[in-house]
Symmetry: C2
Subunit: 136 residues, 2 copies
Amino acid sequence: MKGEIDKKLKQRNIKPTAMRELVYEVLDKNKKALSLYEIEQQFDNVERSTIFRTLKTFQDNFLIHSIDDGTGAVKYALCDEGCTCDPDDLHVHYLCNKCGQTHCLRDMPVPKMELPQDFSFESANFVVKGICSNCK
Amino acid sequence: MKGEIDKKLKQRNIKPTAMRELVYEVLDKNKKALSLYEIEQQFDNVERSTIFRTLKTFQDNFLIHSIDDGTGAVKYALCDEGCTCDPDDLHVHYLCNKCGQTHCLRDMPVPKMELPQDFSFESANFVVKGICSNCK
DNA sequence: GAAATACATGCAACAGTATTGCAAAGGTGT
DNA sequence: ACACCTTTGCAATACTGTTGCATGTATTTC
């Protein structure tokens, strides 16, 4: 288990520390995107800033991606293997207005839009909101 | 001019006050989406909270819509005439990573996604990021 | 037109999230 | 063991958004 996680971290050139293994584990076992606060809640005595910087490191190395779902807190979820967060790697996210959970719709790529002349497409944030099947 | 604005406000059941006319004017003459802070900057001695509540009133009555472009500050832009901010009224927004300006791509509707079973589509936020034609 | 009522505004304070500086702790290589 | 670099914890702070309350302004009612 720990070995598996370390491998994932090393694949992304992230030195595996206890903290990072734990944060990875939390992101992995929860099947939804989590905010900094939500991650903090799953630990007893871990500094917010440490988690914050851990997430930043993860994000810089494309191990996780961030989602701004409009709730005020940025959420984080694991990237798929080999993801480089290029336009081609992007997928749609879904925020349930009832339970507040944000899910990755990993098999739903963000559609390429035909932008106006001379506008480049570097990245995108596409969040669909509604009521999820659980809350229906 | 003032008459035109009052008409727009009244169409949306918003009582036209001096404040509201001014905020509307600012949103109208800038052709991009503005944050609360940016709107505040265009006045000399107007309370943030007043503008905040004005925007809230506008939004509740579908005169403006808000965009969360991931920069940390919500931005606001005028709705098209007759807009009710339904899924059908939504359009894509564009954030330039260089100049930081956010534009409405009004003629680019948010594509309807085929969501997983029992997930409803109530609204969406679709922001494309890149370099705009001005900054290229 | 004056009194009563409702609504809008300004001020101040506060809440939540994100972020940074700095020092201590931990690990790595020589 | 020592020097070096990275990570972590603590504290403080910035920024945006939000609310309570008092005051001012407009609108209605008589």
